[in-house]
């Protein structure tokens, strides 16, 4: 943590946090990551809603994409996928 953050005197009124949490990568928390078999995916979008991180986003063509920078590897998506096309694999 060599970077210096502004103190409370320099921050705007209302104590607005200066950074978005998207700069804080939680991807190294987990030991597993989801592997999605897009061939069997029915584009139901449930994994997007059930992801506690919001790491799974739906792309333009309707397929899910996993943001590995944020995935904590909880496995909720693999557990809840109605067609079981998500499998948790060990991160390397």
């Amino acid at each position: 943590m060599s970077e210096r953050f502004p103190g409370w005197r320099e921050l705007p009124k209302g104590a607005v946090s200066p950074k978005s949490s998207i700069e804080y990568k939680t991807g190294d928390w987990g030991v597993e990551k989801p592997g999605i078999d897009l061939g069997r995916c029915t584009q139901c979008t449930l994994c997007h809603f059930f992801c506690p991180e919001g790491a799974i986003t739906i792309s333009e063509d309707g397929h899910p994409e996993v943001g590995m920078d944020y995935c904590k590897g909880c496995g909720v998506c693999a557990e809840e996928c109605p067609v079981k096309c998500i499998e948790m694999v060990r991160k390397r």
């Binding site: 449930l46 059930f50 944020y70």
Partner: protein
Amino acid sequence: MVSGLTLKEAARKPDGIAPGHRLCAGCDETVIARMILKATRGPTIATSATGCLEVATSIFPYTAWNLPWIHSAFENAAATASGIEAAWQAMRKKGKGPLAEYETVDIIAFAGDGGTYDIGLQALSGALERGHDFTYVLLDNEAYMNTGIQRSGGTPFAASTTTSPAGKVIPGKREWKKPIDEIVIAHGIPYVATLSAAWPLDVIRKARKAFEVEGPAFLHAIVPCTRGWRYPQEKTIEISRLAVQTCFFPLYECRFEEGRPVYKLSGPSAAIARRPESKKPVLEYLEMQGRFRHLFRPERRDDLIDSIQAWVDQNWQILLEKVG
């Protein structure tokens, strides 16, 4: 239009809470909060009482909120939301100020069960009585998870927490869960609903109804906690589904029409009402969770399991009578 909301449309809408927050892996709080924020109509202001959602999304210098968000103390999320609503109304009346141009502002107060059942009850009651136009979301994980699993008014009977530990003499919490929905419905507010993350479309539609209604609305969500309820982190959604399927936490909505509350069961609970044989025994819900482990090991406590089943059955019967 409420009926026009679909999962595919909602999935394309950007999230209200950004990734990179520091809630536990497998936490249900952001699942519910993100679904609710998908239902907003436009300008939105949120506030959170102290709790997991608040501390994990706002660790300095980061914020996970993609919308205006105000921190509240433990007891006053509803009072903060009242103030936001009053400020917006005043700006609209005077025609000046940053919020004057907005026809609608969705004001949401997120609070946990500690901030609602126990500490925030007087602020909530006051705000409901004054009739501010805001939505109060109770994220009920049934204990003070943020500070280390202390019992709250929302903790169910026989659950083991750090302040109601299960031992040889006392089998976990000795009191029953406080009927917070009935307390809120008794205020005569226009909309009350219960939510479970296992049915996303149901959550989004109810949240939209809560925003559209004039006056206060109350949403009560069951939020399984992987640390405090002691279950594998991938089972979060399955447990919130089982809570509904066993009628431990039935899904319904309640509107206030012509001076009396009108109850209506929602999809999964209405299906159980039509086919009572599809109601699962509460045993299935209890045995998945480590906080009820002492009911099964070292010796099976059928007396306690039966009394929990009786409590569930009785509350379900009372609800069915209210639905009519």
